[in-house]
Amino acid sequence: MDVTAMHIANGIVNGQVSAVFAVVAAIALAFCVLRSRADLDDRLAPMAGLVAAFIFAVQMLNFQVLPGVSGHLLGGALAVVLVGPWVGALCVATVLIVQCLLFADGGLTALGLNITNMALLGAAAGYLLVAVLLRVLPKTARGVAVATFVASVVSVVVASQGFVLQYWMGGTTELSLGTIAAAMAGVHTLIGIGEGLIAATTVATVVRVRPDLVYALRRFRTATAQPIGVPA
């Protein structure tokens, strides 16, 4: 298996800013852990594992667009649609931690930065969009697929701009910020479209066959599936 690196490595952003984001990420993840307790039931626990594995697999698809500027699929939007924002953020964070420890991908001291961008920003942007879009779109496979596609594109671009913000706060060299922001946004819009297509196809199939597995549809579930009472 050939794995290429794409997360922020050690030494790209200075120590102080890395430490600040490590604290931010730790606090946010602790909050997610608390909130996820209510969500993790018999159905969601294996789903969370599969979503994490799926994200792990798609993150290996890496697009080398310019020298030094590479991007990859993030999977945040797919995660929040299927397992919700709290568990979704935890799934992406777990992928990043395992990649960092076992596959030497992404610097250890940059873990806070990577988690903030991909797990927190990506999941938050993705879930907010999906929640808003599903209010207007039909709750069908097509509607959820469209919402997932839009959320994927936006969440990937938002996550990439998180890096620009961190680089602005503590980049170890002087590069013009506009160049980085434009390069990251451009590359990640293309990636977001690719990711959106993959995520939308996957989610559409799941909605069609096992709508009970889709977290984003939980709120809209009708109460028709109540067990029929046995007449006394």
């Binding site: 794995v3 030494g11 030094g68 076992l102 030497a104 991908d105 060299t173």
Partner: protein, 253 residues
């Protein structure tokens, strides 16, 4: 499905580093990387010392230099970014071989290349000497929240299922006369990705329910093991402690 869930990076042989408990190795690697990253970028002697240390650790783990070098190419995209910095950076410039290079960019490139490489090498020594299962066990003993170790355990198991099911579906397509070439494979893959996801989920859901019915509570049983001895902690601490020593000596000079 019961095949070994081994890491692609794990080197299956015995060495003193392999025998150290996972939690001690994780803590040692984290501290070592932190020391490397907080070292000011102009302390060249310190970085040479860190490099010697990690090479010594790799030697103790009986990891071949070729393996390390090949696996370390994972950070190549960032090295490319580093190469661009001296040309793109601002501020004071020097001329070298007729090229005008930014001093700040040169330091920046060195900073990224040195710290990135040392961090990758440290992770590789950990990954090469620790199985995925031990690593998750180590995180668990370091009081990592159960939800993380649970997701990670399932993730590593599902990875095998996903790869396995993708291969089976491809063989099924081939055996029905489908003859994919180059990029056109992508179309079939894109169409089947939803089916792949569901198949893998339903397989994994059965496994999960079977685990629940056998008393799984969200945490895999830990084999009874003696607690980490002070000697093992001390052995693991050699790496970060020496690195910290080097850092203090060079910065004070």
């Amino acid at each position: 499905m019961g095949a070994g869930h081994t890491s692609v990076l794990h080197l299956d042989h015995d060495s003193p580093v392999h025998r150290l408990p996972a939690e001690a190795k994780i803590v040692a690697m984290v501290l070592y990387t932190v020391v490397v990253v907080v070292t000011p970028r102009a302390e060249f002697a310190a970085f040479a010392g860190y490099a010697l240390l990690i090479v010594a650790a790799a030697a103790a783990a009986r990891i071949r230099p070729g393996w390390l070098a090949r696996r370390a190419t994972i950070e190549l995209p960032f090295v490319l970014l580093a190469v661009a910095l001296p040309f793109a950076g601002h501020g004071e410039r020097v001329t070298w071989l007729g090229m005008s290079l930014s001093v700040d960019g040169l330091y920046g490139a060195w900073n990224i290349a040195a710290k990135g490489t040392l961090g990758v090498l440290a992770s590789l020594v950990l990954a090469g000497t620790t199985t995925m299962r031990d690593l998750i066990g180590g995180l668990d003993r370091l009081h990592c929240p159960v939800v993380f170790t649970q997701i990670a355990t399932f993730m590593l198991r599902y990875l095998d299922i996903l790869v396995d099911d993708a291969r089976r579906m491809r063989i099924a397509r081939l055996s029905r006369g489908y003859d994919p070439r180059f990029l056109w494979q992508v179309k079939a893959f894109a169409i089947s990705i939803g089916a792949l996801f569901l198949r893998a989920f339903e397989r994994g859901e059965r496994v999960y329910l079977a685990m629940l019915s056998r008393g799984y509570t969200g945490r895999l049983p830990r084999p009874d093991r003696a607690p980490v001895t002070a000697g093992q902690w001390a052995a693991a601490a050699l790496l970060p402690a020496t690195a910290a020593g080097i850092a203090v000596v060079t910065v004070l000079q």
